[in-house]
Symmetry: C2
Subunit: 492 residues, 2 copies
């Protein structure tokens, strides 16, 4: 079972506050592109905590926990200002804050106070401390509904406690799962957020609303476009691995050649190895940014092009082909040259909460995926709910409810809602499950053909393609419209 990771991305008052200087890639927005030498500014935020009910939807569990959030109010203007609220997803909120440069870049323009809310069960926001993942009972409150309720409660708390924010209009912003949350937040709590920017949010990757093969097809297209014979090399690698893995010597060779931290010993290990390679290609597709970046891993500009340089000859003998695969993989795992061995259990930054997301994928976040090896470069694999469900049950003691998200959030019938921007990158595999065409005048789609996973949420860069610059301008344009409407007639 392959489970592609989806990425993206008070008690009364703050318990912890004070300036924390967080260096990160960013540049103030300018009409002309800034000097590439000036990529860093400092971003200061306060780290705060709000008390949240562990269970918003029941009363027998009345316990609470501390949800972390970050606040930056340097550019906020009382009365005329706005609040940009990051709907945190499956990871440490400081990592998302550092990778959502857009918010920092537009804060001044929108006189905005920035809030980054951590998602429960990630980062420091653990409902049951270190017991949070101990069993299904403790994990029971890890759902999107609970997370949205946390956001609603937090915003109300902020409005009650920060003088001058009471009537401040709030815009939800999020990427990936966080983008879904931003969109769903606007849908379910339009009284709390006047609009939402849902970047790279695959809200239709559920319940067979889109073909299950679209995801891997888009990954494959990215590789096809990035080098001659690149995707064919990868497609041919699977059988090469199988042939090698059929002998002990072959397994040994693979383990040594790939410098694996734990050597492959069985055919099952070899399957895990192939899963790890698949995930690597998927991750590369997500972060195929036009400049050097460190999101999931430190990577060069246009990393798939860098990878594909090593994958030009799909017809090589097995070992030669796989040596090329290794070089390709090293672009992802060892760009810094510091990886002593390659670890099959870690394919991306540790800032992401793998465990939590795995549980979510086993409950609500059921995204059917399949590959056929023809329209994509992966091994053929059907979507098999039963196996998936059994695996989930074995791991967590719970079974997925694959149609619940559609029932709850509307599937493709969302036209009754308003004020949501769905942005998607043409290179992003998740765009297959995203909204890429306008639904109504106020449910609008922005497509960034040269963009990978929520490129638009990242800081401005001199290497940004025009399409993402345009996208950001348009996003701010819509936000301004919402703010104007709010101020004009208090309407939401």
């Amino acid at each position: 079972m392959r489970l592609p990771a989806i990425l993206g991305l008070l008690e009364a008052v703050c318990l912890v506050s004070g300036g924390v200087v967080v260096p990160g890639p960013a540049s103030l927005r300018t009409a002309s592109r800034p000097d590439p030498g000036v990529l860093y500014d400092s971003r200061t935020y306060r780290t705060c905590y709000v008390t949240q009910k562990i269970d918003h939807f029941g009363f027998s569990e009345d316990g609470t926990f501390k949800q972390r959030y970050l606040i930056a109010d340097q550019h906020w203007k009382r009365n005329i200002g706005s609040m940009l609220f990051y709907t945190g997803n499956e990871g440490d909120i400081t990592w998302f804050a550092n990778n959502t440069g857009l918010m920092w870049n537009i804060a001044e323009e929108l006189d905005a106070i920035l809030v980054f809310a951590e998602h429960r069960y990630y980062g420091e926001s653990l409902p049951f401390g270190n017991k949070s993942f101990s069993d299904a009972k403790h994990l029971n409150y890890l759902t999107s509904e609970q997370a949205l309720a946390d956001f609603a409660v937090l915003i109300q708390h902020l409005k009650h406690t920060i003088p001058g924010t009471q009537d401040t209009p709030v815009i939800a912003i999020g990427g990936s799962y966080g983008g879904m949350l931003a969109a769903w937040f606007r849908m379910k709590y339009p009284h709390i957020v006047i609009g939402a920017l849902a970047a790279s949010a695959p809200i239709w990757q559920f319940d067979n609303l889109v073909p299950c093969g679209s995801f891997y097809r888009i990954v494959t297209e990215d590789f096809k476009k990035s080098g001659n014979c690149c995707s064919e090399s990868i497609r041919n690698s699977w059988a090469a691995i199988d042939r090698l893995a059929s002998t002990e010597e072959g397994l040994h060779w693979l383990s040594c050649t790939f410098r694996l931290c734990s050597p492959l010993k069985t055919v099952t290990d070899a399957a895990a190895f192939k899963g790890w390679l698949s995930e690597t290609w998927v991750n590369l597709a997500m972060v195929d940014y036009p400049y050097k970046a460190d999101f999931l891993q430190p990577l060069p500009a246009w990393p798939i092009k860098a990878v594909c340089k090593y994958l030009r000859n799909p017809k090589l003998p097995d070992k030669l082909l796989l040596q090329n695969i290794l070089q390709a993989v090293d672009v992802y795992y060892n760009y810094t040259g510091r990886a002593s061995c390659l670890n099959l259990t870690q394919t991306a930054t540790k800032s992401l909460g793998i465990q939590g997301w795995y549980y979510q994928a086993c409950t609500e976040m059921v995204m059917p995926m399949c590959s056929d090896g023809i329209n994509d470069m992966f091994e053929p694999e059907n979507w098999d709910l039963k196996t998936y469900s059994d695996e989930c049950f074995k791991t967590w003691g719970v079974r997925p409810r694959p149609d619940w998200i559609s029932t709850l959030y509307g599937g493709k019938n969302i036209s009754a809602h308003s004020n949501i921007i769905f942005s998607n990158g043409g290179l992003d595999p998740w765009s297959g499950g995203g909204v890429t065409q306008n639904i109504t005048d106020t449910l609008v789609a922005i497509v960034i053909p040269e963009g990978a996973h929520h490129l638009d949420l990242r800081s401005n860069s001199p290497y940004d393609p025009d399409s993402v610059l345009q996208a950001r301008l348009l996003e701010v344009h819509y936000m301004r419209l919402w703010l104007q409407n709010y101020r004009r007639n208090g309407s939401k």
Copy 2:
């Protein structure tokens, strides 16, 4: 603590079906008023059950229960028809089906299939059978959110299993708490219902959105309008009771005079007696219908007028005054002349689930109420959340969350939603917490000055005031508009 009671359908396919003839007051709508002699028609429905998750919002409790619903499809027309869906509230669904004549009356006009869905924890829809009310753990799934999710799942189930309903537009209809559910259902699941008729739905009776005294003030006005000195007589009765209750003889006299099933023995009993009287006056205000009816109790037309005939002299000596109060109370409890004794613990039909509603009032449905004895005829009583909460904790082991409903459903900030009719009766004490002015073009208010609690949902009657006939016409007009829009552009 006074807690006014607020009042107001398959594992795969129906397990139970077959015609059930339910006689009830109804007449087919005609332009001229029908002959009062022809008040009864027969209403046939099938009783069905759908399997629901006990917990829609968590995965560790994966059990299911059978939710009952009723279906009547005599007037339904495939392709052009609609579905009218009653969002069941706190009682036996057959009782609501029999008291929601409007749906039966307009079914033919709207080519509608009728569905009446029972609310979990009421009637036959008990998640844990006879253990459902045993403790806070078993009661944990009794919330409005779970009820709405049941409705959503049920409608999807119907659309999957009844041929020809797949694209049938659904309109939610409910009264009282059921009206709130209808409105909230449209707000939270606009992809499932194209609009809602929320009759006598006090969605603003929470979180101090309206003055806590409005409810009892409206009750008092009803009595004021219905007879000279009527409300004064009631206001004076409290002190008279206190004086009598201060002696053993007086308590005995009260018990005998009022034919109480259990005699009053203490001052606490006397307080309960006053609480019971208050509830009686409140209930009369809710069901002050223009014709003989049997909703909470069998009653004459305009029952408050009938009551007030006995309450013309507020200055009588205590015992004489209270003998008049008894005669007044007998209008409510003994109109049929069959009540051998009066039972302080039963103020209305047994079709309502008192226990369940009490729990809901102690968790989500926290409606601040107060009286001052000046602007109303009741004993002064402040809204005291602490006492209320302590009482709830003592009874159920849970504490209310008084601001949760506003956080969840938006309080007064609901203008982002659409297609909801809020109807209110001018005589209905719950109208104080209702929406009585248009919010937007599609969130509209209808006020029925001569109407009590959701009179508009009842069957047409020759005694209906013009205002309710107009209200029903307008309600159907809006429903037709929603249906036209849905058919024209599939928009919701």
